[in-house]
């Protein structure tokens, strides 16, 4: 009995690698992408369901199969809680055979999931998380930071606004790590470009009333008010700046503003504001074609145009699937090497190259929000002031100081 069992076991063991080869080199016979995002909270309009849709569209357009195996997309809501994000990530890798986790709004959840992925030798492709150190001192070998980061936002807006004459700044900063690092990055850029920082006011996250901070900004006499906050905080700052008669005299610079924010504010309130974005739907024929497809997709309930993080996710998914196809396996190491070796040029990214630190460097745009009179059709929101070439838009590999890169 024992002998039979052991010989059966031997046979099973011997046949395993062969079975693996015969089935192609896709682990578990399926390529599975998990979109881990914020479905209900602060970031749900700029990533959330739209992020899931973008990934699903990419999989559909790719043909739904790679190397003869099906591609599956699953999604979950991490509620912006790091513990939930990390538990879901572990479960996805261990039990649901997920090969790559995408999106991850808010750097707290990103930092919680990245080490888990590295430990399990699976990919993370971040789109909505913004902190620069994701590919800096906290970089991992299994991570790609695809769409944008704080450095890009700070540099694009900071440098260009100073150049166009806005050389004195006051910051309204959300009092948390993200806000402070955004403020610091921008302040450095402003000073380097010859501008002056006159002061700052720090507010607790999710404040409703910004009038006192705006009064301080007004009293400072700065030409530019930099908003180092995000989401609802930025929206309320902009709204109340107009109410207190600040905006025509002083200019607002949004450091993290998405097209969804502009849409909910309305142009009358937001007009004249500068911001940096890595994607605008109305840039050329390619971006328009894809964005309209996204907008009119039956699953896009609000018929919203894509934000940069959603467009980035489509592009990232395509790039990921093409790499799998090219190397003939879904194993993380060769796939990530291939992704880094292949330049990206599509509707989203121009001159895109993924560096050894995992940061995707591509062209970005400095834009100004149009006034209602200038806007000719729905979602016609931005004037493109300047195209920022990839090398200027993102920090160099040397500047990032990722410990993996020697």
């Amino acid at each position: 009995m024992k002998r039979v069992a052991s010989s059966l076991m031997m046979a099973a063991l011997l046949s395993l690698p062969a079975a693996g080869r015969a089935a192609g080199k896709v682990s578990d016979g399926v390529v599975k992408i998990g979109v881990l995002t914020d479905m209900t909270g602060f970031y749900s309009d700029l990533s959330g369901p739209g992020s899931v849709l973008a990934v699903k569209m990419a999989v559909h357009d790719f043909g739904g199969k790679v190397l003869g195996k099906p591609i599956e997309v699953i999604a979950a809501d991490h509620q912006n809680k790091a513990d939930i994000a990390s538990t879901i990530a572990r479960k996805w890798f261990d039990e649901d055979k997920v090969d790559a986790i995408m999106d991850l709004p808010n750097s707290g959840t990103a930092f919680a999931v990245m080490p888990v992925a590295a430990e399990k030798k699976k990919l993370t492709i971040l789109s909505t998380a913004a902190t620069t150190s994701i590919t800096g001192d906290k970089c991992t070998a299994y991570n790609i930071h695809y769409t944008y980061n704080n450095w890009m936002l700070a540099n694009g807006t900071g440098r260009e606004v100073v150049k166009s004459g806005g050389d004195t700044w006051f910051f309204i900063t959300a009092d948390y790590v993200f806000g402070k690092s955004l403020e610091e990055d921008t302040a450095n850029v402003v000073k380097a470009a010859g501008g002056k920082v006159l002061g700052y006011a720090r507010h607790p996250q999710s404040s409703a009333d910004f009038s006192s901070y705006l009064l301080q900004a007004q009293a400072s006499g700065a030409k530019v008010i930099g908003m180092a906050n995000a989401g609802g905080d930025t929206i309320n700052t902009i709204k109340q700046a107009k109410e207190f008669g600040i905006t025509p005299k002083q200019t607002l610079a949004g450091l993290l503003v998405f097209i969804s924010d502009i849409h909910s504010l309305g142009l009358e309130t937001a007009k004249g504001m500068y911001l940096t974005t890595s994607f605008y739907w109305d840039y050329d024929d390619q971006t328009r074609a894809w964005s309209k497809k996204f907008q009119n997709h039956p699953d896009n309930a609000k018929k919203a145009m894509p934000t940069m993080t959603q467009a980035g996710l489509y592009s990232a998914t395509m790039h990921y699937l093409q790499a799998i196809k090219a190397v003939g396996t879904d194993q993380a190491e060769p796939v990530i090497a291939k992704m880094k070796a292949t330049p990206v040029n599509d509707f989203f990214a121009r001159h895109g190259v993924i560096g050894p630190d995992g940061l995707h460097r591509h062209d970005a745009f400095l834009v100004q929000v149009k006034s209602p009179a200038e806007s000719k059709y729905p979602w016609d929101y931005y004037k493109i002031i300047k195209k920022i070439p990839a090398a200027e838009a993102f920090p160099s590999v040397a500047a990032q100081k990722c410990p993996l890169v020697k």
Binding site: K81, F111, P115, Y176, F178
Partner: protein, 327 residues
């Protein structure tokens, strides 16, 4: 309080001989056996999460269910202990046991400080004072540099228990957490069933009477508060070890609300209730994620239904059913 709740049900179950010492031994024996086997059937990280929250809720129940004090700031103890443990393990490289112990000790001290002030009031005012102090702790967690703000304190090393059990192995870690839970749960169980626990319950039922019988009510309340805070801290330290990070969620008032939900749902004033509630809430959080933005609505509905129709909680209702079952 003439409310039909878990406390009365579990007492009735004793009186009617539904719970007997023998049955209890068998029950806990089965529970331990289940605890040992489960990680091989269910995902261990999920189980560890449940165990930590179950300990947290049980500690909270000692205060709400057995002493009648509703604290709305218990996340302060969970989070503080987590941060202390995480920082000591990461920055000082302390052994795991010392780190967990230090976190628990700090939470206990904090519990003593807050408790000494808060127990001077009762009812809704007690809840509000604890909330006030918890908000201040939250403020500190946002401001102090070592917590990492909203990025959280990340990358806490797990190290080796007793110097040789590698805790990065999920099974080893699970048994470590299980042992911690058993220890904490045991402390709570002993407290409830000691003469001290009986005094607590008499305070809950009728404080003036307890006072007139010569008990130093304030002192009893304070000790209960400190034990509860310390064990909540133990849960927080262990959680930090399991997840390898601590974030602001752990000190936010939502967490304080969540533990009320767990306790209420499982059955306040019952020994097992909070653990059952914790299991349910953690499972809802982890397995309902596919429902997208309906999760909040579902959890809210469970809350409302619980308050309106099942005030005894799951365990309390179960005991009630058993009690009225014609054997």
């Amino acid at each position: 309080m003439s409310v039909p709740d878990g406390v009365q049900e579990s007492r009735a179950a004793w009186r009617l001989g539904i719970i007997t010492p023998r049955r209890k031994k068998i029950f806990f024996g089965l529970l331990v056996a289940a605890g040992l086997v489960l990680p091989h059937l269910v995902y261990p990280v999920f189980l560890m999460n449940v165990l930590c929250m179950a300990l947290f809720a049980s500690a909270f129940n000692l205060l709400l269910g057995y002493t009648g004090l509703l604290s709305f700031g218990h996340a302060a103890f969970l989070g503080t202990a987590g941060y202390v443990t995480g920082y000591l393990l990461k920055a000082w490289g302390l052994p795991v046991e010392l780190g967990v112990l230090a976190g628990t000790a700090v939470a206990t001290l904090l519990g003593w400080a807050i408790g000494a002030l808060a127990i001077r009031r009762s009812g809704i005012y007690f809840a509000m004072i604890t909330l006030g102090f918890a908000q201040m702790i939250y403020f500190l967690a946002v401001q102090l540099p070592f917590t990492g703000g909203e990025d959280g304190l990340q990358g806490i090393p797990q190290g080796k228990a007793l110097g040789f059990i590698p805790l990065h192995d999920p099974y080893a870690l699970y048994y470590f957490v299980f042992a911690v839970f058993a220890l904490g749960f045991g402390v709570i169980y002993r407290t409830i069933h000691s003469p001290f626990g009986h005094v607590l319950r008499s305070i809950r039922e009728n404080e003036p009477r307890a006072l007139s019988l010569g008990y130093d009510v304030a002192r009893y309340k304070l000790v209960a508060f400190v034990i509860s805070a310390g064990l909540a801290g133990l849960a927080g330290s262990t959680k930090a070890l399991v997840l390898q990070f601590v974030t602001l969620t752990d000190v936010h008032w939502h967490k304080s609300g969540e533990v009320v939900l767990m306790t209420l749902l499982g059955g306040m004033g019952t020994v097992m209730g909070p653990s059952v509630g914790a299991l349910l809430v953690v499972a809802m959080e982890n397995y309902l994620t596919g429902f997208g933005d309906w999760v909040t609505v579902i959890i809210g509905s469970v809350f409302v239904a619980g308050v309106l129709a099942f005030r005894r909680g799951i365990v309390g209702e179960a005991l009630h059913l058993v009690r009225n079952f014609p054997f």
